[in-house]
């Protein structure tokens, strides 16, 4: 899948990480992205939203996409600047149809232990796009807070 045009990033803006299918590696990749948010002085609320959506994407990719198969890899790409954050997560699974996921907020589904990840990504990010197969998700979060001056990059 190509970068969604409306996300406003180019290939050259993106940092790519290829990681094993495990929570430790996912946590490390998350820490790199969260570190970038901290460097750009993102607010606590926006940081909460991005961390939440990223964890849902990573958890889905590990658990449902790669089915905890250690021989498979995840690809995480990201671009963080003071105005917005773009994150892509891709797994090696067969994918799924996001629209087929039952509404976790329906009364009959409230007690289900799982199934909230996709809904939360949509709720907390500005835009979410899946590829046709459903094994790659692109997420955009606009940083609506007025950013503090960012230190110049070395």
């Amino acid at each position: 899948m190509q970068i969604p045009e409306e996300f406003g990033v180019r290939e050259s803006d993106l940092v790519e990480m290829v990681i094993p299918t495990d929570l430790k590696s996912a946590k490390e990749s998350e820490a790199r992205i969260m570190g970038e948010l901290a460097r750009h002085h993102y607010s606590d609320d926006v940081t909460f939203a991005i961390k939440l959506a990223l964890e849902e994407a990573l958890t889905n990719a590990i658990k449902h996409g790669n089915r905890n198969d250690a021989s498979k890899r995840l690809v995480v790409r990201y671009a963080v600047n003071p105005q917005q954050t773009v994150i892509m997560v891709r797994d090696e699974g067969p994918g799924f149809r996001p629209r087929k996921v039952p509404d976790p907020t329906a009364d009959e589904n409230l007690e289900r232990p799982n199934g909230r990840g996709i809904m939360l990504m949509h709720a907390y990010m500005t835009r979410v796009r899946f590829n046709e197969a459903g094994n790659e998700v692109w997420m955009l979060k606009k940083n609506r807070e007025t950013p503090l001056p960012s230190p110049p990059r070395q």
């Binding site: 940092v15 929570l23 430790k24 996912a26 946590k27 998350e30 820490a31 790199r32 969260m34 570190g35 970038e36 948010l37 901290a38 460097r39 606590d44 609320d45 940081t47 909460f48 961390k51 939440l52 964890e55 849902e56 990573l58 958890t59 976790p104 907020t105 009364d107 409230l110 007690e111 289900r112 232990p113 799982n114 909230r116 990840g117 809904m119 939360l120 709720a123 990059r153 070395q154």
Partner: protein
Amino acid sequence: MDAQEEPGNAAAFSAAPVGQPLRISVNSQARLRVITLAGAVQLDQAAELRNRLVAAVEPHAPDLIIDLSELAFMGSTGLSALLAARSEALRHGGRVHLVAPRPAIAGLLRVVRLDRLFPIHDRLTDALKALGQTAE
């Protein structure tokens, strides 16, 4: 990305509320347990949280109060842990009440409508009273 910047960035994140590791403490009272969660439920800590919450439900003291006042972050895996605790409590005739979630966590509970399943109180004393207990 400039690799030399990464340690500083990671350190900045680790120092932020949502970057803190989860801390769990349990206060046992005669007929219930008060669990206090602090820090953030990190990706690799949800299973531990689930196990600790479920283990805190005992047949002779099946009610749980989960104090969220010091919790800065949790995702859906953390929510699943709360649901597992509730399921275990119900199995033994108990209840799970939540106390003082921060605005971001309260918002998360509302978004997924779990505020319909978990009574939420502003103060621990209110939760104790609702469960027929007094502070010890």
